[in-house]
């Protein structure tokens, strides 16, 4: 899938909360031995939101950083999309708050805004919609965010990875872009590997069924179809970013497709901050843009449970160098950290409640 007008990334930005808990401490909370129980997922520690943080506040700071690099007036943004599965309101879009906070669409707020949902690929889905709007000439700039404060049930395997963070991208015409999105396609099937029902606090998943028929099948199908359409092979790419539910899967799927670990590791951030769900692949892409040389070719394939994958062929331009230092980089946020113990974690994630708490959320 290619638009009639080429579209690219004009600016990128990320945000990761400063709070961290180690996998070892999470295992200790449940009397498990970390080395035997959780070391295999290759996530050393994960981020968690502070008491006053949620998907909106994460989306906001990532967007401010993206706008610093895009160097455009927010009034020119005519589409604001937030991909997330941890919306602050079940009904009231996060995008509406973001439009107002950034001043998108000018004083009259003439912009579209919506939240996207497709488990962990909601953000990349919003990128595809924006490519349609910009590529068709309906609008010139869009702001897309993938952000989450992911939920892992107490004591569940997901508790070791479900984390908080996000990335934002200002998309626009390719002539102003730091990276051009040359092509993109998607693969979607009904594969119930992970879901959360209405009114439930925590998602349900199908353990090892989330691997082969879900993650691996969809990413590999989308990646292969895109490479065939563009006429590339793994050797043509300098970087590959795959959805990062843990530290192990992206390397394994890359290996099966023919990508060496040195092409995957620059964008592999989950081992340090956990899985930011809708932010996962997009934080990885940001980490690559933080360091990629002009001319680099990037393959990004997201994965959303349920299930589907969005694949992107991206080429970095000369402009990347001049805007790179205008906002904090992924590693600046990764390295800004304060550790909490399990009891503080339980309080921050609102797993335990105060007797007289009038602000419960």
């Amino acid at each position: 899938m290619k638009p009639s007008r080429e579209v690219g990334i004009v600016g990128w930005g990320v945000y990761v909360p400063q709070w961290r808990i180690t996998s070892e401490e999470l295992a200790r909370g449940w009397g498990r031995e970390w080395k035997r129980y959780a070391a295999g997922i290759m996530v050393e520690e994960k981020s968690l939101p502070g008491l006053d943080e949620d998907t909106f506040t994460i989306a906001y700071e990532a967007s401010v950083n993206a706008l610093k690099r895009a160097r455009i007036d927010p009034a020119k943004i005519r589409a604001v999309y937030v991909g997330t599965e941890s919306k602050p309101y079940a009904v009231k879009t996060t995008a509406s708050i973001l439009v107002e906070a950034l001043g998108a669409g000018g004083d009259a707020r003439m912009t579209t805004g919506a939240d996207y949902e497709f488990a962990c690929k909601a953000g990349t889905e919003a990128i595809q919609t924006s490519i349609g709007l910009i590529g068709s000439g309906m609008i010139d700039y869009a702001l897309v965010v993938g952000a989450d404060t992911a939920q892992g049930a107490p004591g569940d395997a997901l508790e070791y990875t479900a984390s908080a963070g996000g990335a934002a991208f200002v998309l626009g015409p390719s002539s102003e872009s730091v990276a051009v999105i040359k092509a993109s396609l998607s693969h979607v099937t009904d594969t119930p590997d992970f879901w959360r029902r209405q009114h439930e606090r925590y998602p349900a998943h199908t353990r090892s069924f989330t691997g082969e028929p879900a993650y691996f099948k969809h990413i590999m199908a989308a990646a292969k179809a895109l490479m065939e359409e563009v006429g590339t092979t793994p050797d043509d790419y300098d970087y590959a970013i795959f959805h990062q539910p843990n530290g192990k899967f992206p390397l394994r799927v890359g290996q099966r497709l023919g990508f060496t670990p040195d092409k995957i590791k620059p964008g592999l951030i989950t081992p340090y901050i956990g899985n930011t769900y809708s932010g996962s692949a997009l934080v990885g892409l940001s980490a690559v843009l933080d360091q990629a040389e002009p001319g680099s070719k990037i393959l990004m394939v997201s994965f959303g449970s349920g299930a589907g994958s969005d694949a992107f062929h991206i080429e970095v331009t000369d402009k990347v160098v001049e805007v790179r230092d205008l906002a904090p980089k992924v590693m600046d946020y990764v390295n800004r950290k304060r550790y909490v113990d399990y009891s503080t974690y339980a309080r921050y994630r609102r797993m335990i409640k105060m007797l007289h708490d009038f602000s419960s959320y």
């Binding site: 502070g50 949620d54 700071e61 708490d357 602000s359």
Partner: protein
């Protein structure tokens, strides 16, 4: 209704100040204020225009809150600071992402947007500016 103990219209009216740090400047005496008022508190002029205030500043004074008003119980202890922005405008705000024992007078801070008050499980989430130590 319990969900609405926080006034929704009041929050909505204050959105320009709370989200974007939009204040007022007196066109006669130059005094800057946040939130914007119709009448300049310094000279009484009614010529007050809207201005966007800088996002950076420094802590002038601060206090650690242990006995909070209703709605802030879960966040204690937290710090309320008198912040002087780069252009000299003063405002009071919560500090965040900081250990209360590490706060100092003169500390450089920057604006972030965070949840300030939440009306229970079913009510409004009021986002507003807070300040945190300047990111390197």
């Amino acid at each position: 209704m319990w969900a609405y103990w926080l006034s929704v219209p009041e929050h909505w009216r204050e959105i320009p100040a709370r989200y974007r740090l939009e204040g007022g400047q007196c066109e006669d005496c130059g005094f800057k204020m946040i939130p914007k008022r119709d009448v300049c508190p310094r000279c009484g002029s009614k010529n007050v225009k809207t201005v966007k205030l800088p996002r950076r500043g420094r802590v002038l004074e601060y206090t650690k809150v242990w006995n909070p008003p209703r709605g802030y119980e879960y966040y204690t202890p937290y710090v309320i600071a008198l912040v002087e922005l780069e252009d000299g405008t003063r405002l009071t705000a919560q500090l965040t992402d900081v250990d209360p024992d590490e706060v100092e007078e003169g500390m450089e801070v920057e604006m972030v947007l965070r949840k300030v008050r939440v009306s229970g499980e079913s009510g409004l989430i009021a986002y507003a500016y807070k300040f945190r130590p300047l990111l390197k």
